[in-house]
């Protein structure tokens, strides 16, 4: 099997869908000629033509808004926000239309749109290049929010996202883009949206995570294992709709939950997952479900980012605390 980075895997998924479905078109800032600032769409314009893959003016609201119109006319656009930190000019289109067109028109129009965006930090980038706004999207009815952590999942989830008849906010952990390689089938396959995955089975503690920070959890688990702590690691992969079952079953078994996210804690994904656990597995709990989140701050610029983004040490520290509770 071919070994791919996440950039290659996503590129591969986009190429497959462009090839098999003429309704799929792709655009955004610098996605055409240049192939995107992270080269995720590299080569796609050459392969599929300027009509299918192209550069748009620099205006996020119109990128998303025009895509809503294309959907109404039967297309399945995939658009890129150059960084998640630049999705906010498009927020009104997302909240008011992408997520609502189906309900507003009672199903007459729907929005099979994928909004791709590299997200997250710890890559020594300038301001607005390290944001993780997934919790905001999770709170908006009508969206699906997908966050792969591996090349394999990224490809399968991207195929599913493009084929979905409802909008998907597809958040790509840019820290992972080229950091890991993995065997990825060249043929088409898809991974269902809304399903988490148990990355390691364990009995003492459930750790729920997603995106780039999953790798840091895996590193922390080496220490945990050495310390005799058996961790069950769940990669959510989809933030909304969330996989309640997989979380519930795991915590019923372990009695302990740690949620690890990179985005600010308050009103964040950790709170949602803790609430689910409290709702579904209260009587199984042996310790307070805990969140290790980013601070309630702007991600600091590179000189300070080591404080903000979780090290395996910090994750292990929280695992240990919970284990010792």
């Amino acid at each position: 099997m071919k070994v791919m980075t996440m950039v290659q895997a996503i590129n591969d998924a986009l190429h497959i869908k462009l090839t098999e479905d003429p309704a799929v078109v792709m655009y955004g800032e610098d996605v055409g000629v240049e192939g995107g600032v992270f080269r995720v769409t590299q080569g796609l314009q050459e392969k599929h033509g300027e009509e299918r893959v192209f550069d748009s003016p620099l205006a996020e609201s119109a990128i998303v808004g025009t895509a809503v119109g294309m959907c109404a006319a039967g297309l399945r656009p995939v658009v890129e926000m150059q960084f998640a930190g630049f999705v906010f000019p498009a927020f009104n289109q997302i909240v008011s239309h992408v997520s609502r067109m189906r309900n507003r028109s009672r199903g007459k129009y729907f929005v099979p749109l994928v909004i791709r965006m590299p997200y997250g930090g710890n890559i020594r980038a300038p301001e607005h290049h390290s944001e993780s706004p997934e919790a905001l999207f999770g709170h908006i009815p009508g969206l699906q929010v997908v966050i792969p952590s591996t090349p394999y999942d990224a490809k399968g989830l991207m195929i599913a996202a493009i084929e979905a008849d409802d909008p998907v906010i597809f958040m790509e952990p840019k820290q992972v883009y080229r950091a890991i390689k993995q065997e990825v089938p060249e043929e088409k396959y898809s991974i269902p949206i809304g399903r988490g995955k148990i990355l390691s089975s364990g009995t003492d503690i459930t750790v729920v995570s997603y995106g780039a920070v999953v790798r840091e959890v895996q590193r922390a688990m080496i220490t945990a294992k050495a310390a005799g702590i058996s961790v069950e690691l769940i990669d959510l992969r989809t933030i909304y709709p969330i996989d309640r079952e997989i979380i519930k079953e795991s915590v019923k078994k372990t009695g302990r939950l740690l949620v690890v996210t990179e985005s600010p804690g308050s009103f964040g994904a950790g709170a949602e997952i803790i609430s689910i656990v409290v709702e579904e597995a209260f009587l199984s709990l042996e310790a307070p479900p805990t969140r290790l989140a980013g601070f309630d701050t702007v991600p600091p610029l590179p000189k300070g980012e080591h404080f903000f983004f979780h090290s395996p040490e910090r994750i292990f520290y929280e695992i240990k605390k919970l284990y010792d509770y």
């Binding site: 003016p57 609201s61 808004g65 119109g69 289109q93």
Partner: protein, 362 residues
């Protein structure tokens, strides 16, 4: 025509004067008399529905309603120019265009009466339901236009916005994309002089709204929006331009909202009786009526029966709305996704459990 009436010089295209006399017969578009009569009827029907909506609202039988009074010529002209394959992307004050596109009045009542089922508009293909956030519909129109080009279809997109809407970022982004992408979209600004209480001069310092086309490299024209013929001619040319692959056009239709902003607005707070009177004299229906009567195409006295008939039709439609089946719990949930996610099912089930518990108590 777009070259002849330069918005930079603040020229305005008119065919009729305020009394319904042709300013220059050569300007009159080639439109069969019967079509003019039909347009007149559409304007009258829209006005009847409009006035009745306001009074239904006063009676507490309708929630809120944005009157079209005085702006009917614009929508009627668009209604006449739009072909079945064309798209309508409305703002919310183009009742005549809705109707021309096939929308049932009962559905329109459902929308304003507070039921999403109205916005399905099953009888009106290629018609996007109103986007309440001002100007946010314009990028949709451009995207549809892009798809029309991509699929090599023969459609034109008619996109409406108000004068206030021209201040929003989405107006700019949409028109800019339209220029670059050369999409078959006609942007129609209904400049009715106010955005709720805010007059156009507080909205922008540009000479007029049509000049804004310069910023996007597309033709723009300022048209007397209370002049049916002027609107018809401008839209006809714009549609031909778009259909020929020449791209987008911006039309500023100068008009006046003779009614309130919505039924909860009080225009006496921000405008004068004189202003209202001045505009009442430019009433588009009066003008077209005078034209038709002068040509012997109808008689003043025809209106009574016509309006009586329209009133009945509106009443019938209103009855359909008032007898619409009650909203069901599942209507809250089932249209958010193609298949309802577990989370929504859970929430619906929890609510049903609560409802059942109440039944048990009773």
């Amino acid at each position: 025509m777009f070259e002849k009436y330069d918005p930079l010089k603040d020229e305005m295209f008119r065919v009729m004067d305020d009394k319904g006399e042709l300013i220059d017969p050569k300007l009159k578009p080639a439109i069969p008399d019967q079509d003019v009569i039909d347009a007149y009827k559409l304007m009258q029907f829209a006005r009847t529905a409009d006035l009745m909506s306001v009074s239904y609202q006063r009676q507490g039988r309708m929630l809120t309603y944005p009157p079209n009074l005085g702006q009917e010529a614009i929508a009627a002209a668009a209604g006449k120019i739009m072909k079945p394959q064309d798209w309508l992307v409305p703002a919310f004050r183009e009742l005549g265009a809705y109707l021309a596109k096939g929308a049932k009045l009962s559905d329109i009542f459902l929308v304003w009466g507070g039921h999403e089922d109205g916005s399905r508009f099953s009888d009106a293909p290629n018609f996007i339901p109103s986007a309440v956030p001002i100007a946010s519909q314009l990028p949709h129109a451009v995207g549809i236009g892009w798809a029309v080009n991509y699929k090599k279809e023969d459609s034109v997109v008619f996109a409406f916005v108000g004068d206030g809407g021209t201040s929003e970022g989405d107006f700019h982004e949409a028109l800019n994309f339209a220029g670059v992408w050369k999409v078959p979209v006609i942007f129609i600004i209904q400049n009715n002089q106010y955005a709720i209480s805010v007059p156009v001069r507080k909205q922008t310092a540009s000479r007029n709204l049509a000049v804004k086309s310069t910023a996007y490299g597309i033709p723009g024209i300022k048209v007397d929006g209370n002049d049916f013929f002027a609107m018809y001619a401008a839209l006809e040319e714009a549609a031909a331009h778009a259909r020929q692959g020449k791209g987008a056009v911006l039309i500023e239709a100068v008009t006046f909202r003779m009614g309130a902003h919505t039924t909860s607005d009080d225009p006496t707070l921000y405008r004068t009786k004189e202003e209202e009177k001045m505009w009442a004299e430019k009433d588009p229906i009066k003008r077209l009526s005078a034209y038709l009567i002068a040509r012997g195409l109808r008689q003043e006295s025809d209106d009574e029966a016509l309006l009586e008939q329209y009133k009945k039709e509106v009443e019938k439609e209103f009855a359909v709305y008032e007898n619409y089946p009650p909203y069901k719990l599942e209507d809250v949930f089932k249209y958010h996704y193609k298949e309802m996610p577990g989370e929504l099912k859970r929430q619906q089930a929890a609510y049903e459990k609560f409802l059942n518990s109440r039944e048990v108590q009773k």
